[in-house]
Symmetry: D2
Subunit: 104 residues, 4 copies
Amino acid sequence: MTTETTPRVEATHGYISNKSRYLARLKRIEGQARGIHRMVDEDTYCIDILTQISALTSALENVALGLLDDHLKHCVVAAAKAGGSEAEQKINEASQAIARLVKS
Amino acid sequence: MTTETTPRVEATHGYISNKSRYLARLKRIEGQARGIHRMVDEDTYCIDILTQISALTSALENVALGLLDDHLKHCVVAAAKAGGSEAEQKINEASQAIARLVKS
Amino acid sequence: MTTETTPRVEATHGYISNKSRYLARLKRIEGQARGIHRMVDEDTYCIDILTQISALTSALENVALGLLDDHLKHCVVAAAKAGGSEAEQKINEASQAIARLVKS
Amino acid sequence: MTTETTPRVEATHGYISNKSRYLARLKRIEGQARGIHRMVDEDTYCIDILTQISALTSALENVALGLLDDHLKHCVVAAAKAGGSEAEQKINEASQAIARLVKS
């Protein structure tokens, strides 16, 4: 009964091993967003603001692609091994997320 | 053994079941590309050409997303079940293809 | 009046000077679309097809960006010089075309 | 000579009239970025994080498209009216910004 409070390994999500790196990247992204707000507030030249927005969009896409790769390697592979409809459902869900990324 | 030259079932790719539908969609896409060529040749108004290019790009993205979903459901799931480094390699390959789609 | 059938200079569109280059690029794009159709027909490996679709999408985007640049330099500049609501309308139209490109 | 420090009207950028709305939208965007950081920190399910990243990317794109529209309507139109190489330079600059948005 002493194992009741042991964290369940399968409950952690795929990206957990790189969590601190993702958190650092997202901290930077938050700073970029704040910087764009300041640029507009200070009437920075429009083209320079657009350059920063493109950089921020790329940074976000790279985080998304990293999370997706981790998700495929952990959740989807685990579901595929378990077999059954779970794998197909996980892949439908991943495909919809990919479609949103491609179209956004 | 006369079966040596029999096509190996596992060599067929994931999208094979919908092959005729993909071929029909790609035929239409080829026609759209030809239409854009004709529009430029006939000096069609620029904005109208851009509209057609956006429609063609969307059609291509949808084909890509469909192929990718099929690929995940067949190749990647099969590799995950087989286990070993094959699964990871397949997912790296898929992630790179997704990155190209997101960034293109 | 013998000038009635004279082509109106202002009726030609902005990209006319590079027309043969656009036509050559679009011919290649049509060939790329045909190549993707053939790849599906011949059961080429899915990831290789996705690579070709990304290449085709990029080629289309580059044509669109070129046409748009020409359009801004000719039509939009001419409308801006003429003044009035025409300039604003042309820019609304261009902005909508840009939004479709960014979101597709 | 007391007018030396008077703000030059032509130095204000095109989006100035909607500045408070842009600032509000960017404040929200900053909050969305902070929310994604928190989701990773709290081990939220990967697909849900991807959904939020797509929403944030779309919000950024819409801000960029708005700024670009304002820029075309003010800076580019003014440069076109002034004539000379300034207009072409402004459009080259805008086209490069558009290309970065389309490709990011």
